[in-house]
Amino acid sequence: MSKVLDRHLIFRHRDIENIQNIDTYIKDDGYSALKKALKEMKPVDVTNEVKSAGLRGRGGAGFPAGVKWSFIPKDIFPKYVVVNADESEPGTFKDREIMEKNPHLLLEGIALCAYAVGASASYIYGRGEFLSTFRPLQQAIDDAYKHGFLGENILGSGFSLDIRLHLGAGAYICGEETALLNSLEGLMGQPRNRPPFPAVAGLYAKPTVINNVETLSGVPYIILNGIDAYRKYGTDRSPGTKIFSLSGRVNRPGNYELPLGTPLRHLVEECGGGVIDGKQVKGILPSGAASSIMGGDKLDTHLDYESMVEAGSMLGSGSVIILDETINGVWAAKKNIDFFRHESCGKCSPCREGTHWLKSVYTKIVDGHGTKQDVDMLGTIIGQMEGNCFCPLGEFVVPGVRTSLGLYMDEYLEMVAGNEEASQPQKDLIHTFF
């Protein structure tokens, strides 16, 4: 595996053993960024540093973190920092590694964010399955309290912060920030109307920053080493490093921290050791189930926010799933639909009913009973969903099906070949009634 990074910014545990141990973490300059901020910086300076460093949200949408923080009104209290550790996108498993292996980095990032926006309480919301992940994280929190990095009057600065862990019940939609807030409040995990945006009325209707685990873990490096040091990595509009969760038909699936802008080919071939049995890449799902599928010919696309959009897809949360020739394109699309059908929260009609309908059609096709009309039906259904859903989950359904139809139409047609559209059985009405 080639080394494109002199050191890991986030996956520091891969450079230094036992960094989950607070003493080790401190020895590696851990909590120095927090000390620096509390001693030398005003809250607004922290926000401005993050803004200038160009750190973008790693949860999917890529929204600039510093800009988000600056939306928090100054004069309303209390405010909250909520950490999105729901990590439910198929193929994403990066936040988990951070929390298990380098938890203090996240805690330090949270503390910096809370200091910047004036929050004194923070909740880390994890997916229901993260029981074993949250144990070491809780240990880290306890250690941080003991060392005075959390709790009352941190390092004598007058700034106080409490962090609490909360496990959801395991629902993809609870990764969507407003559904997450509902769930955290004990309500049903369904998204809220916007406006108001969480920055104005979030948790308990108070100003709330919501950031992904990886986003916040990127903050300490910026504060400690400065904007230029951070911008050494990545591209101008996509600075810094990003963790890519590589899975699918590759030899070495796993998490890889790379500077943004690294070519996809590097991730697949160098990091992932290429496709199993040397087969050809047939498709790339660069952001999990919600992806626009990219053809195997797109391996030279650069992994940054802009290039991925240009290539007709998006960077998302960086969960790169590789399909090879052994994978049937229709089958893969059906897997995604099964997932969405299962995870649709049911709030709005197009997604609740549309995902179910899609699943019915896919099942029919994959079971070998589909017809050409059924394939056309898929296009119609996503057309009827597009733009009409309450939240992005429903909208995420569309690109996968659309690109799959575009890339793998021959496979669809093959599957339905020979099946005639059954003509409507003629009901003999007279016979029925008399």
Binding site: A171, N193, C345, H356, W357, Q384, M385, N388
Partner: protein, 890 residues
């Protein structure tokens, strides 16, 4: 910036207040935007996606903030890339909305198609069929064919009881959450929720007992499909077969406007199939309570009186009007000549109409010559409310508009039980519109959860508390002197008396601290609008009414809309009975009586001077043994009623009366609004309206009244009672169209339209520049605190009343005879739920099982009134509200 916004919807320009939602703006130009989840009275959720429209706003250059112009110099409109939900998007200046554009029409069709992929389309057997938004919108916007032929539609149980009254057919549900939101936002009984997600989502009730709410029927009304139906009406009739008749609920004094859905059956007699709300924003908005909706089965009860009965050889036997009427005439005449007219007396229940009550007093005062008449039996026997006459809520009062800047003082009433729709309105004023609601009572009630302030007094001290508030208003200099000068006399006299009632001095007696009293006084006096609502748990001490009247007057909270006093009286027409002068001590229209006052019901039924009585629509025998004995000893008793009540069983002649649904007439509600009801169904063959019976009796006594209709009686009332001068039927009844209108019910639900007259309120003294209110205070009865336990006897919605007893579906809600005891007392006495206790007072003792209640304070035990066996009345007497009792384990 102007408060008005102008926008264009499908080419039509409309100007609406800022903040208006697109869907509402469109309604104003009669551009229908279809909705399912949106409902004007509920929060907006934007989840069904039916209302998607294209929305554009005028374009501005980002940098310069200058308008971007097209080649013709007109500002360009930038359309949002996605359609917007018209139910959540507020209008903005210059906005352009496309409702019937190709894209919006496609979206609508798409959403409908999605909804129908899991909808059973069993319209032919669905109760909503014919008045169903989903059905109508599918016809209008849907595609004619179904492309969802992949598998079975979803299956859920077709008949799932959400509670005892409401049945859920989850297959029909479109998951709009209107029902859930109604329950939590309007009824404040958040008992419904969605369980599971995606297509497995379904509606559940998680209260115990399930769907525990007095308002559950309204959830079926807001449901835009046939998913929620009432057990009562399920498969009862098709909507188009029914004739809809406007009526007024006869179960409490709120006077909710209703529609009787009636159908001609095989035999030709009209059947009452359902009672539905009729929109009247000033009375009941779109709602009725479950008692009003379900409590109509008494009409068709086989126990109804169908023919006159006469006592022969000790037995009541069937007779005819022709035989009984002359007999009644003879008996009354002979008692009058033997014992004088004061040996005759009458009680008329406050469920009778104004026309009945008017003739009742006319019969006694003019024909018989006796002032021995009363409508107050039992609970309110000693209580006469005249605050309505002087300082009742102003004409034009509309609680649905009362909000920020207003204070509503509720004193001694559990509104959720006594006047449910009033509860909804008061709670809504607080929660939705930020009025300051102050709930004062002897115990915790449901309204406490919505009120901003609560205070608890010792039972029996409410009048002290109100005097304390009044004294504090004066002491804090918060009186409205200008108002007093214009409308009242006697202010300086009352201030003297008030010196004894300073907050400090009443704090100990009442148990409410002087700080609380002062804060209440301040909030009420300083409010822009002030309303006082008081109920029977405040006691029936005459000092109370006088103090409340003075409090409203000195703060100037009377004589104008959204200000004044509402007394929560017990029956549908208690107000009208007082207006019609069915009291022994004054005449109709609150005019003074010259000469000696007659006997009250209480006096008539506990002495022996009365020899003959007419009792119409009242059952005093069931209230107390003393009354019963007295009635047994009468020489002659005539009873007119729907049923052979305990009182009727003692009568010499029993006359069958018509029920409200079977006749016309008027009721006057708590807010003095006179409202008419129409004939909905046929009555038992020989039943007559009460007014007709009374006129016939008068005829036997030589009168020649010649009324042909209730209408004619009202015509005379308008002449005789100045307050009622505008109440002729033609004024009260405006052209009524009760035809179903899709554009109404897709937005508002199943309540019938407001296209009807809203009743007329009569004006109070405070609204009359020619009259002045004489302020007077009464020194309250001495209050002696007791170390014993206080028994309180509130009225409840589901009591053992006769009219409810005939409705099977609510029987499981009817209060099972038991006593509620605070957990502290239960612990002290070593009692558990279900243990039996002996409760005794002055030699009377009753045994009851107990239930431990968290709602009660230490030292109180609660037994509702009017329940099986009448334990409450036996212990406290039928007219009192509370008493000191001894409680021990039995």
């Amino acid at each position: 910036m102007s408060d008005q916004v102008t926008l264009t919807i499908d080419g039509k320009t409309v100007t609406v207040p800022k903040g208006t939602l697109i869907v509402e703006a469109a309604k104003q130009i009669e551009q229908e935007i279809p909705v399912f989840c949106y409902h004007g009275k509920l929060s907006q959720v934007g989840m069904c996606r039916m209302c998607l429209v294209e929305v554009g706003t005028p374009m501005f250059d980002r940098a310069t903030r200058e308008p971007v112009l097209d080649e013709n110099g007109v500002q360009k409109i930038g359309f949002f890339p996605k359609p917007m939900t018209a139910c959540t998007t507020p209008v903005s200046e210059g906005m352009v909305v496309k409702v019937d554009s190709g894209a919006a029409l496609d979206d609508r069709k798409a959403v409908l198609e999605f909804l129908l992929t899991s909808h059973p389309l069993d319209c032919p057997v669905c109760d909503k069929g014919g008045e169903c938004p989903l059905q109508d919108l599918t016809m209008k916007h849907g595609s004619g064919i179904s492309r969802f032929n992949y598998e079975e539609k979803q299956h859920f149980p077709k008949k799932y009881p959400l509670g005892d009254l409401i049945v859920l057919d989850m297959e029909r549900c479109v998951i709009c959450t209107r029902c859930i939101r109604f329950q939590s936002e309007i009824a404040h009984d958040p008992v419904l929720a969605i369980e599971n997600r995606g297509r497995h989502a379904h509606i559940v009730s998680y209260s115990d007992p399930p769907f525990d709410s007095h308002y559950s029927g309204n959830a079926t009304d807001v449901c835009p499909v046939g998913a929620l139906t009432t057990k009562d009406f399920r498969f009862g009739a098709r909507s188009w077969e029914m004739k809809n008749v406007p009526s007024i609920c006869n179960h409490c004094g709120v006077g909710c406007n209703t529609v009787l859905g009636t159908r001609k059956g095989g035999s030709g007699t009209g059947q009452l199939k359902r009672v539905m709300p009729r929109q009247n924003e000033t009375v009941n908005e779109l709602w009725i309570c479950d008692k009003g909706r379900f409590g109509h089965h008494f009409n068709e009860s086989p126990n109804r009186l169908t023919t006159p009965l006469i006592r022969q050889d000790g037995q009541l036997v069937e007779s005819t009007w022709a035989d009984v009427l002359p007999f009644i005439g003879e008996k009354i005449s002979s008692i009058k000549s033997a014992n004088g007219s004061t040996a005759l007396g009458g009680i008329a229940g406050a469920r009778l109409s104004n026309e009945d009550l008017y003739l009742f007093q006319k019969l006694f005062r003019q024909i018989i010559g006796s002032n021995n008449i009363d409508h107050r039996v039992g609970l309110n026997a000693n209580f006469e409310d005249t605050t309505a006459y002087t300082v009742g809520v102003g004409v034009g009062t509309d609680l649905s508009q009362v909000g920020k800047g207003s204070t509503i003082l509720v004193i001694g009433s559990d509104l959720d039980q006594e006047a449910p729709i009033l509860y909804i309105r008061v709670a809504g004023a607080s929660v939705k519109r930020s009025a300051h609601v102050i709930n004062i009572g002897g115990r915790r009630t449901k309204l406490d959860a919505q009120a901003q302030t609560s205070a608890y007094y010792q039972y029996g001290t409410a009048s002290y508390l109100v005097l304390g508030i009044l004294a504090s208003v004066v002491a804090q200099g918060l009186v409205n002197q200008e108002w007093i000068d214009r409308h009242a006399t006697g202010f300086s006299e009352i201030t003297k008396l008030l010196q004894d009632f300073a907050p400090d001095s009443v704090a100990d007696t009442t148990g409410v601290s002087s700080a609380e009293i002062e804060a209440i006084a301040k909030s009420y006096a300083e409010a822009e609008n002030g309303i006082i609502i008081f109920g029977h748990e405040a006691g029936n001490d005459p000092a109370l009414g006088a103090a409340i009247e003075a409090l409203a007057a000195v703060t100037g909270h009377a004589g104008k809309p959204n200000n004044g006093v509402i007394a929560v009286l017990p029956h549908a027409n208690s107000r009208g009975a007082a207006d019609m002068g069915v009291v022994p001590n004054r005449l109709l229209g609150y005019l003074p009586l010259e000469g000696e006052a007659g006997l009250s019901a209480e006096q008539m039924l506990s002495g022996n001077s009365i020899k003959g009585m007419i009792i119409a629509g009242a059952d005093p025998a069931s209230e107390s043994d003393t009354y019963r004995e007295c009635l047994q000893n009468l020489d002659f008793l005539v009873v007119q009623d729907l049923f052979l009540t305990e009182t009727a069983q003692l009568a010499d002649v029993v006359l069958p009366a018509k029920a409200v649904a079977e006749r016309d007439g008027t009721f006057t509600n708590l807010e003095r609004r006179v409202q008419t009801f129409d004939v909905g169904i046929d009555s038992p063959l020989l039943a007559w309206s009460d007014w007709l019976i009374l006129a016939a009796i008068a005829g036997q006594l030589g009168a020649d009244w010649g009324y042909a209709s209730a209408d004619g009686v009202m015509a005379e009332i308008t002449q005789e009672v100045p307050l009622y001068q505008n109440m002729a039927f033609e004024n009260l009844v405006a052209p009524v169209s009760l035809d179903r209108q899709t554009d109404h019910y897709i937005y508002e639900g199943m309540s019938f339209t407001a296209d009807v007259h809203e009743g007329i309120q009569w004006a109070t003294v405070a609204e009359n520049e020619q009259q002045k209110i004489t302020l007077q205070l009464v020194v309250p009865e001495n209050h002696t605190g007791s170390d014993e336990i206080t028994l309180v006897t509130p009225r409840i919605l589901y009591d053992g009343g006769r009219l409810l007893a005939e409705t099977d579906v609510v029987q499981s809600h009817v209060f099972q005879t038991r006593a509620l005891l605070s957990s502290v007392d239960a612990k002290k006495l070593g009692l558990n739920n279900g243990d039996s206790v002996t409760i005794s007072q002055n030699g009377t003792a009753v045994n009851l099982p107990i239930q431990i209640s968290r709602m009660l304070n230490e030292g109180t035990i609660l037994i509702p009134r009017n329940i099986e066996g009448r334990p409450a009345e036996r212990l406290v007497g039928s007219s009192d509200v509370h008493a000191s009792v001894k409680v021990k384990k039995s």
